[in-house]
């Protein structure tokens, strides 16, 4: 339905930094070799990738949304949501695959699938290279293998699952590869990984409400802390780090807490030459969804001003159940902040970070 709000969105250049696909085992199986093809399709227990079994159905209250092909993205996101450039992310369960060889094969297969099925015929679509951090050397190889594809504009890491946490020096080879190829690193947590990283909490809570509230901030807290513990942003000064699907309001808390503890225990993180805040304001970015919802909208403006409008990039997380329609954020930004800052959040920062 054409109305005033859609016209307003239509005028904006919008880059969506977090769009998801559903890739079923039968589909990915076509893109991988044996024995992994059989592992994905002939197991007697079904999908070999672990899930925690939490109810995501919304109890039948809303219809399930699916993206099963590029035409869905074109129709639902580009036309209905007025997204100019969707960035396709995720084969999230790769991060939890118990067999590292399977994880590596799946990541390669997924990247080939996305390139051929989603990117080749849609030059305004972009994607991020999924890597399996269970095998850092293979992850680096995958970055070099795919890094010259023009529509692959970043490296996508599931940050629920990898152990030790992602600042560990064993992953330096991956960060060096991304820096070599000029690709930012994007971290994205998955609710299905909560059971892996936080098994005690997973067993203790009662509902998916609790799991979903906690998964993304827990994962981002752990990843960001680990990056600073081992000085990753100092080791790779040209690398950019993107934290997806955590909303924005967690960042000030972590930024200032990291500053505080770093000043007291600098000798524990001695690679750092600056305060964590300085690295964050130089090399770190966050996607907006799920944008927090204060009862007083003015509070969000204040928090965004603290974060800075050059750090935030719009994301929808479509088609997941807590997606943000660009209408909400665009309207909020239009009313509350200067136009140049609105444009940075809707597209300018993503253009710069991802080189779009």
């Amino acid at each position: 339905m054409a109305n005033e709000r859609n016209l307003s969105l239509k005028k904006e250049l919008i880059i969506d930094t977090d769009v998801h696909l559903q890739i079923k085992p039968d589909e990915i199986a076509k893109w991988i070799d044996e024995p992994f093809k059989s592992i994905m399709t002939k197991g007697h227990i079904g999908n070999p990738l672990p899930d925690s079994g939490w109810d995501r159905s919304m109890a039948g209250k809303i219809e399930k949304r699916l993206i099963t092909g590029p035409e869905d993205i074109q129709e639902k996101l580009c036309e209905e949501f007025h997204i100019d450039h969707p960035i396709i992310n995720s084969f999230g369960k790769v991060g939890k695959a118990s067999m590292s060889r399977l994880a590596v094969a799946l990541a390669r297969g997924y990247n080939d699938l996305v390139l051929e099925k989603y990117l080749d015929d849609y030059p305004h679509f972009y994607g991020q290279i999924t890597v399996a951090m269970q095998d850092p050397e293979a992850a680096a190889e995958e970055i070099y293998r795919m890094g010259d594809e023009k529509q692959y504009i970043g490296v996508f890491i599931d940050n629920t699952g990898p152990n030790p946490p992602l600042g560990d020096p064993r992953y330096d080879v991956v960060y060096r590869a991304a820096e070599d190829k000029g690709l930012p690193i994007a971290y994205h947590a998955y609710d299905s990984g909560f059971i892996v990283d936080f098994p005690r909490q997973n067993a203790g809570v009662e509902t998916f409400f609790a799991v979903h509230v906690l998964t993304h901030p827990y994962a981002h807290f752990l990843t960001m802390t680990s990056l600073f513990e081992h000085g990753v942003p100092e080791k790779f000064p040209d690398l950019k780090f993107v934290f997806l699907e955590g909303g924005v309001t967690w960042l000030p808390y972590m930024m200032y807490r990291l500053n505080k503890v770093h000043s007291i225990r600098r000798f524990d993180a001695p690679m750092l030459k600056k305060t964590p805040e300085e690295y964050i304001r130089d090399q770190f970015y966050i996607s907006t969804q799920p944008v927090g919802e204060p009862n007083n909208q003015e509070d969000m403006r204040k928090i965004m001003e603290v974060i800075g409008f050059d750090r935030m990039m719009f994301s929808s997380d479509y088609p997941h159940f807590d997606f943000d329609h660009p209408e909400g954020l665009e309207k909020f930004l239009r009313v509350n902040i200067p136009a140049k800052d609105r444009k940075k959040v809707l597209s300018g920062n993503a253009k710069e970070v991802y080189g779009i």
């Binding site: 020096p169 330096d172 080879v173 060096r176 081992h230 000085g231 100092e234 080791k235 790779f236 770093h262 000043s263 007291i264 225990r265 600098r266 000798f267 524990d268 001695p270 690679m271 750092l272 030459k273 600056k274 305060t275």
Partner: protein
């Protein structure tokens, strides 16, 4: 500004310090590697008495991007002053805070005349 004799050189050995009060301010006078240093006894963090902290070494990180070798080296033994309240680290020769390089503690000129240590404040 005026000169204040704070001690005889024999009173501060290498790696030692004294605390004096000059014009109502607490001042720490350090002797390290043949040089004297004088600082206000005030930490930039929360105002702690940093001149009363321990002198230790600290870790520095070293990274080789080509080999990915990552090492932590214990360095500057006896030259890092840790504020006794929260452990903020300062290089005692410069007063620069190691975690916040833009923070430098107020220092005062020190000189020796006729074996007397003189602080100008």
């Amino acid at each position: 500004m005026s000169d204040h004799i704070v001690a005889d050189v024999s009173e501060i050995g290498d790696g030692e310090r004294i605390l004096v009060e000059l014009k109502g301010r607490e001042v720490g006078v350090f002797y390290l590697d043949g040089e004297y240093y004088a600082f206000a006894n005030w930490c930039a963090h929360q105002g702690g008495p940093w001149c009363e902290g321990t002198l230790t070494g600290t870790f520095e990180g070293e990274f080789n991007r080509d080999t990915l070798e990552y090492r932590l080296n214990w360095v500057k033994e006896g030259k890092i002053l840790n504020c006794p309240w929260h452990g903020w680290e300062y290089d005692v020769k410069t007063g620069v805070c190691l975690s916040r390089r833009s923070v430098k503690l107020p220092s005062y000129p020190v000189r020796v005349e006729d074996n007397k240590i003189i602080v100008t404040l």
